[in-house]
Symmetry: C2
Subunit: 335 residues, 2 copies
């Protein structure tokens, strides 16, 4: 049996191009004792993947050259060599990488019930992006009823959940997204209180108008000038959650630092970074909350599914050019 795999061939400077990865077809080896063979149905595409391609100290080792590109994934066990807990037919999610099949001893993989939700949701709102949003806004953002919450990347996999969880918790929520369609989505489908289109509005003017009282929490997915603008709107004891900096990931020059950071001093405010893996012991509780909110219609989950492992590079680019709606997913199982 043949496994199509996306292999990292060189570290990109700036945006990845056609020499960054190669698509290879390799024969699947036999299973060792205690291993399972998983057939991937869907691959999770996330902005963090760009960071894993750089050879620099981070919260996780970089993907090695000639290694399968790292990613979250979901699929079904199709063969087991006496695995102690997974059996053929189980739906499982883990860090399978961008390939059609993966062999694993199960370490880091979780069984999920794909009869209660479609598979892509388990790598979206019920997976890492959803967990990031949930713990970021509650544990790091420390939201409480009545807070004014600003979130960037608000129509994305993380941002859309951040805003909705904040609404569920009784906050006023302002979302920043690119384009009228996304802003309409925030207002009309997700129930945000206000939306800012950073592509057509001046961000400083828009914040003045839409956050006249300032913000208690700013959840940052983008960095750059939007972070800098948000710093000018902090209320006393405000919290900034640093979740990512998608505007800076493909920089060829140095990251732009937030020159308004002294607003932290003036407002006795806090800027704190987070990595979702730190909250692993509480994922179950979060998944229960989120599953309940989805069932009650309070939390909407949107996945944007593309098809075919051979389209990986083109689909990956959508993470950064904004041409996607909600959680970006690549279907790699062949019909």
């Amino acid at each position: 049996m043949i496994n199509k795999q996306i292999i990292l061939k060189e570290r990109p400077v700036g945006f990845p191009n056609e020499t960054t990865w190669s698509l290879e077809s390799n024969v699947i080896p036999d299973l060792n004792e205690g291993e399972v063979l998983i057939q991937h149905h869907y691959i999770s595409l996330d902005p963090a993947m760009r960071g894993w391609m750089n050879d620099s100290k981070s919260y996780i080792a970089p993907v090695a050259i000639d290694e399968v590109m790292r990613s979250g994934s979901i699929g079904k066990v199709i063969k087991s060599n006496n695995h102690p807990s997974f059996k053929v037919g189980d739906c499982v999610t883990g860090w399978g990488g961008v390939q059609q099949f993966v062999i694993t001893d199960g370490n880091g993989w979780f069984k999920v019930d794909d009869s209660i939700a479609p598979m892509p949701m388990f790598i979206g709102t019920l997976g890492m992006p959803g967990m990031t949003a949930y713990f970021g806004i509650t544990e790091v953002g420390k939201i409480k009823e009545g807070d004014i919450v600003l979130v960037s990347g608000a129509a994305g996999a993380v941002g859309s959940v951040v805003g909705q969880v904040a609404k569920i918790k009784g906050c006023t929520v302002i979302g920043i997204a690119g384009g009228k369609e996304k802003c309409d989505y925030l207002l009309n489908e997700l129930g945000f209180d206000a939306a800012i289109d950073y592509k057509s509005e001046n961000i400083y003017e828009a914040l003045k108008e839409k956050c006249p009282k300032g913000v208690d929490v700013y959840f940052d997915n983008v960095g750059g000038e939007i972070l800098n603008a948000a710093l000018t709107k902090l209320r006393m004891h405000a919290r900034i959650v640093i979740c990512g900096a998608i505007s800076q990931y493909n920089n060829k020059i140095a990251v732009k630092g937030p020159s308004n950071y002294l607003s932290l001093l003036v407002n006795r405010a806090t800027m704190q970074g987070m990595v979702v893996m730190d909250y692993a012991k509480d994922y179950k509780k979060a998944a229960q909350d989120m599953g309940m909110w989805i069932a009650q219609g309070k939390l909407k989950s949107k996945e944007d599914v593309y098809n075919g492992i051979e389209n990986f590079q083109e689909t990956f680019a959508r993470l950064f050019n904004g041409d996607k709606k909600g959680k970006l997913v690549l279907k790699v199982i062949e019909d």
Copy 2:
């Protein structure tokens, strides 16, 4: 009786110059019922004064044009018109401004016992700079025994106390200061574990050598490139205390933002601003701790006293050109 006063005449762009302030001599008016007349002995000179001169939103209103320049001060009550708690001869400290005398109803003023410590110490280690250091490193920095603490402006009024309190609490302390003399002072007199001379050493190389395990707490008085370098050395869950940014206060261009701020994400670290006034209810406890440490010889306090209100501008400049040792104080009482 004549009161010599330093009056703010215009808002400086960049560094203050001879047209920024004027020295005026004014007759002291009569006291209203319940007021006291205080004769200042010493004026406190602090970097924060530069910020109060800008017409921008901050934690305190800017000094108005044609108003006495704001500052901390200490002196003695020489006249009272039935003040309920202060009497002639009391030594008192407050926000008297850069002038030889001040009339007040006592609001915001505190009586101190100048028989137990020299007056300049009450506006230094036992005053605002000392309180800033104490609460900044314990409450915001949350130091615990064994932590590695890095402090900039380490030979200054705040930094020298930060480092010594951290040593008292069982931390390893590395100080950053300008020049061999200040670094020798940190090592030989204050007992710091290591010192970095930012004027003669490359800060990135020096941090690599002197903080090989990284830092748990960075206490920042300076901002700019030193803050940026410190961000590269954070340990997991590190805390950065933003106390000031002396390198940026006289900028004619925008403040330089810390481009390495994504280290907060990688290391799940926190950057938090502080303003000492927030801790007013606990000043007494802090003063007791610090007074005890001074008496025990564990905490050294150094004041650099200049003479004459007419030398205010030249003395003020020493805050920023580094030409001072410890807490900068101006004696304004005439012998």
